[in-house]
């Protein structure tokens, strides 16, 4: 119909302001959806990191702290558990398996974790998926290392390469265990979890590289060569934490309580799922604030559109008068402006959604690599579609304000246009 065509032509005539309006709505929609995507992506990522582990045991500390350093390699352990305690817990009748880990060293910014070969069979992620080797095998020799997919990809390591472990967890370290280099014996397949960014060695190897160390520095008078160390007793004196699998999940709370009440040493045992919930409770406020801010940005963009239409109204009174003179009803003029606002909002929402998906597809590998955050590129959820629909409806509704003003102007102007 000619009226619709005229409305579009009228918009095209003001294409620059129209484009800027669409762009500002698009960016606000992109922000709103993006925040939601990152939020769900982060939650998914965290929730997918550990699976099948019923308890995590560490030295007495906050639940979150224990979860963050043992599973996510964020922060550091406050204390260690003695080997004797570990052996004690291992004897508990309800425990099916227990895997000790030892943290504290690093390799070029990647954490080094001492553990036992069973780790590769018991540690599961993403709904019970086990770790898989893309090349090689678990460590068989004392100085064998198994590296995560990101370590291999970013440092370009292949099987058989020699690597040197540095003391401490910092990205740059001047203290290196360069007298006892490791050989890459296995490379793990990509998991999308912190495992990808970890160098795994045996517990004995952690002990071995530290035999001639004292209070955080190498003692040259006690230097032990890489060959000599093999003949020493390398039973660890302490571990950082342990992952525990139970025979029956029903026993989880009981075993947790027993470990928390362990007499010989202050310990903490956590249920990973419950502690993740604690974490969400903590960051929930920040998430709500982010969502509120991005919601405000959308409202601001819609207000900008209303302002744009209102400011053009005066110069368009002529247009309205012409339409009235050929028989357009005030209601036609009203709907013309409401439709204009609605079309602008709809285009903004569409462009914003496309921009977001373009950005997601483009940036996903980078975000994955840099933050270890896997954001799924999937269709918007029903809730998000509802929000988008709501924004479009709000756009039409916002158009009523300038439309009603134009309606009143066109009634008052009659045939004479006062410009």
């Amino acid at each position: 119909m000619i009226i619709v065509r005229l409305a579009l032509q009228s918009l095209a005539n003001r294409w620059l302001t129209a484009c800027l309006t669409i762009l500002s709505i698009a960016l606000s929609v992109m922000l709103l959806l993006g925040v939601e995507k990152v939020r769900t992506g982060a939650r998914q990522s965290f929730a997918n990191t550990i699976s099948g582990t019923d308890l995590i045991v560490g030295a007495r500390s906050g639940n979150l702290n224990l979860l963050l350093y043992s599973v996510f390699r964020i922060g550091n352990a406050t204390n260690n558990i003695t080997w004797k305690t570990y052996q004690d817990i291992k004897q508990h009748p309800d425990i099916a398996w227990i895997v000790p880990i030892s943290l504290g060293d690093s390799h070029r910014g990647f954490r080094v974790m001492g553990t036992v070969p069973e780790y590769f069979t018991h540690y599961h992620y993403r709904r019970g998926q086990p770790l898989a080797f893309s090349a090689g095998a678990p460590f068989s020799d004392l100085f064998d290392a198994v590296i995560g997919a990101d370590v291999a990809a970013q440092l370009g390591y292949r099987l058989g390469d020699r690597i040197v472990v540095a003391h401490g967890a910092g990205a740059v370290s001047f203290l290196e265990h360069d007298d006892k280099p490791f050989r890459v014996s296995g490379i793990l397949a990509k998991t999308g979890t912190p495992v990808d960014r970890t160098v795994h060695v045996s517990l004995e190897a952690i002990e071995a590289i530290h035999v001639d160390w004292q209070s955080g520095a190498r003692d040259p008078t006690k230097a032990v060569s890489a060959d000599d160390v093999r003949r020493m007793d390398l039973t660890p004196k302490a571990i950082t934490a342990a992952f525990v699998g139970l025979k029956s999940r029903l026993a989880a709370f009981r075993v947790q309580r027993e470990i928390n009440n362990y007499r010989q040493e202050p310990l903490s045992a956590i249920l990973p799922g419950a502690t993740l919930q604690e974490l969400w409770g903590l960051v929930g406020t920040a998430e709500t604030a982010l969502s509120a801010v991005s919601g405000m940005v959308v409202i601001t963009a819609l207000l900008g559109m209303v302002t744009m239409i209102l400011t053009t109204l005066n110069e368009r009174r002529r247009e309205m008068a012409i339409l009235r003179s050929v028989g357009a009803r005030p209601s036609t003029i009203l709907s013309l402006l409401v439709v204009e606002a609605g079309v602008l909002t709809l285009l903004g929402v569409l462009v914003g959604t496309l921009l977001l998906y373009g950005a997601l597809i483009g940036l996903q590998p980078y975000i994955d690599r840099t933050y270890g955050l896997h954001i799924a590129v999937d269709a918007p959820s029903v809730d998000q579609l509802k929000i988008l629909g709501g924004i479009v409806a709000a756009g039409f509704f916002a158009g009523l304000l300038p439309a009603l003003r134009a309606y009143r102007l066109s009634l008052a102007d009659g045939m004479t246009v006062r410009t």
């Binding site: 095209a12 005539n13 012409i322 003179s325 050929v326 028989g327």
Partner: protein
């Protein structure tokens, strides 16, 4: 029109009183009056854009003073062609769309245009008769036309579908004298061809000779400003 009273509301109200006025079919009336004498208000009442506070405005057998707003709009679309003093066209729309605009609001004018070979053909014919080059008709956006061309396109829009009444509010005041004459020649020819009545307002009495009737608005209507009445 009989006993019509109309007041523009506001802080400085302006009242127009028309005791009696009539226009014959096919008549060509020139209304003369100084600015501020209520010419535009008179035309608004005649075209049913403004609704009188009292009285009767019978057009083609219908008292438009009794119609509600939407019905008056429909009535205007069906029976009136209107030409403004200037800026008649939607600048972003094409010439032909500007001319076709009234047809989308008036079924009967559309029917009449269709009977003569369709809206586009009728619009092209009117534009050609009014001296608009065919290259402009096909491709031109209204914004690139000269003022004289714009007024002629406006005349084509007022005439398409043969409305019974053509109202022109100083259509020639933005044209120079030569162009005024040429514009009136074309307008009269087309108004005659359509069999319409023409009411034109001007403050230029030199045009009087070309109309079948000349009236001073002061004789028809009494205007009064808020303070004095």
């Amino acid at each position: 029109m009989g006993g019509v009273r109309f007041t523009w509301p506001g802080r400085n109200p302006f009242t127009l009183a028309i005791d009696g006025f009539s226009l014959g079919q096919g008549e060509r009336l020139l209304l003369i009056g100084p600015s501020g004498s209520g010419k535009s208000t008179f035309l608004s009442l005649l075209a049913g854009i403004a609704k009188p506070d009292a009285g009767k405005i019978e057009v083609l057998g219908t008292d438009i003073a009794r119609l509600d707003g939407a019905a008056r709009d429909r009535f205007r679309a069906e029976h009136y062609g209107i030409i403004f003093q200037m800026f008649n066209l939607l600048p972003y729309a094409s010439v032909i769309d500007n001319v076709l605009l009234p047809l989308s609001f008036s079924p009967s004018r559309k029917k009449r245009a269709d009977a003569r070979g369709g809206g586009r053909a009728e619009a092209s014919r009117l534009l050609a008769n009014l001296g608009i080059e065919s290259s402009l008709i096909e491709s031109g956006a209204a914004a690139i036309l000269s003022v004289g061309q714009q007024q002629r396109v406006a005349a084509a829009r007022a005439l398409i579908g043969s409305p019974e009444i053509v109202i022109a509010d100083e259509p020639t005041s933005s044209l120079d004298r030569n162009r005024q004459q040429a514009f009136l020649d074309l307008l009269f020819a087309e108004v005659d061809a359509a069999g319409a009545a023409l009411v034109m307002v001007s403050h230029d009495e030199s045009l009087a000779g070309r109309f079948s009737r000349v009236a001073d608005l002061a004789e028809i209507a009494q205007a009064s400003r808020g303070g004095r009445s």
